[in-house]
Amino acid sequence: MSAFDIIGPPMIGPSSSHTAGAARIGLLARYLLGAVPESAVIGLHGSFAATGTGHATDRALAGGLLGFSPDDERIATALDLAAAGGMEILFSSIDLGDSVHPNSTRLELSGACSRHLELVASSVGGGSIETLSIDGFSVRLCGQLDTLVLWHEDRPGFLSHVTAIFAAVEANIATIRTARRHRAAEALTAVELDAPVLPEISGLLSRMSSILHQACIPPLP
């Protein structure tokens, strides 16, 4: 944990978990989608559902989807800005189960180029967030480091190809996680790095036929 996770982030009120964390989740979802969201179906779980309105959780999630940082004063009017920009957002209460953190949400996004994304994430306190799943793949990301997310075919040797590319450009991998739903089907790999993802890396990865899609995520503000 960085000192700036404890003192910080600078943010627009009123709640670090319900506002800043929610804005970060929205922002992460926008990066993962890799496109401007055109519509969003957002389920609010637990305390997000119970006290989300008073904490501006809805406005913060919308602000994140619009690309706003947690300290962007436009969050206060994000729902109006989303509506004006043609972004359709539908909120509802959902129950993700007792084992899921009380400040959690499920976002289903659609964007340009028929991209879709389903993200389940929790705001775990002080503005820090954690993903529970991305498109149904169980992957835990915190958004603190530069991150590369790869949607790919589950094939032997996939990871050695990917890590060879990082080794070739001397990019240090902080963490790497692969998740799959079935054997030899689609899988998802998330790589956290100590430095921004170099264009060479994205270029080399996009030439791998087993990679279906990739998303680059900078450290969340």
Partner: protein, 297 residues
């Protein structure tokens, strides 16, 4: 030498072996983890302190009520009272409270604050440091250093318990903030790392059990007044520590207790507004509307 610590006992040992303060050890750890230059890290913390001071200034000028109607204008009243004739316990007492109120009033008005460690508890540490600037020779560089003392204590709480009201109640938010502030006050005024950790223990010990039952789900009642009152609480804890009052339950154990109490606390009293102040007859009048979808259906 490793700068790893998750317990106050480890932090104190590091301080002793290196002959350094909590703020210095925490700063060194940040340099190591981030690989950024010392000046860059210190500058960033100083920028955060400036945002904190701006949030106090803005809050002191608020005259109107917040959008919910639950707060607004009280920081100003307290500051005026502090400036009046013979305020109770002296001007600094009411002024410290005013600063804590001010940050949370800014927060309720969708203004910019620094979550320290959370938004609902963002007034305690800034109020304590700004109050010290009024009474002691503490410049902005010193305040930024004091924020590293606070971060060191917060790091231990984060590693062993949590900061979220939804998980641990208000003790995890304002309790954490107050123990961070108490330690910062001690180090900023020349106290030892041991005294700082004891101050953190006294502050947290006396916030155990504090529930999170915000009226209407808004971070206003009781949050605004609580931030003012617990800024003063931090000075009480610091006073106990530097006086040498005996700390029977050490900080690490108080954190364990906070975590334990947080887990046992009913969900209705952890930021769901399903009990306590939120469901009193007067509290229910501020019950929130369900989230609004766009475009309006």
């Amino acid at each position: 030498m490793s700068l790893h610590f998750t317990k106050a006992a480890e932090l104190l040992e590091l301080c002793e072996r290196r002959g350094e303060s909590i703020s210095e050890v925490t700063l060194q750890r940040e340099i190591h983890e981030s690989q950024l230059a010392r000046e860059i890290i210190l500058r960033r913390m100083k920028e955060y302190f400036v945002i904190m001071r701006d949030s106090v200034k803005r809050g002191l000028s608020i005259e109107s009520l917040s959008p919910s109607g639950l707060s607004g204008g009280d920081a100003r009243k307290l500051a005026a009272y502090a400036a009046g004739e013979a305020p109770l316990l002296g001007a600094q007492f009411a002024r410290t409270m005013a600063y804590g109120f001010a940050v949370l009033e800014t927060n309720a008005a969708f203004g910019r604050i620094v979550a320290t460690p959370t938004a609902g508890s963002a007034g305690v540490v800034p109020a304590s440091l700004l109050s010290l600037q009024d009474s002691h020779a503490l410049d902005d560089d010193g305040a930024a250093r004091a924020l590293f003392t606070a971060a060191g204590i917060g790091h231990i709480i984060g590693a062993n318990a949590c900061f979220s009201g939804a998980q641990g109640g208000c003790q995890a938010e304002v309790g954490s903030a107050s123990s961070m502030a108490a330690a910062a006050i001690v180090e900023a005024t020349g106290g030892s790392p041991r005294q700082a950790v004891d101050a953190a223990a006294f502050a947290l010990m006396n916030t155990l059990g504090l529930v999170c039952d915000p009226v209407g789900g808004y971070v206003e009642v009781p949050c605004v007044s609580r931030n003012g009152m617990f800024a003063v609480h931090s000075f009480l804890a610091a006073t106990m520590a530097v006086s040498g009052a005996r700390c029977v339950i050490p900080f690490d154990d108080v954190v364990i207790a906070m975590h334990d109490i947080g887990r046992r606390m009913p969900r209705a009293l952890k930021e769901t507004s399903e009990a306590g102040l939120a469901t009193t007859p007067s509290g229910l009048r501020f019950r929130p509307a369900p989230p609004r979808s766009t475009p309006a259906t």
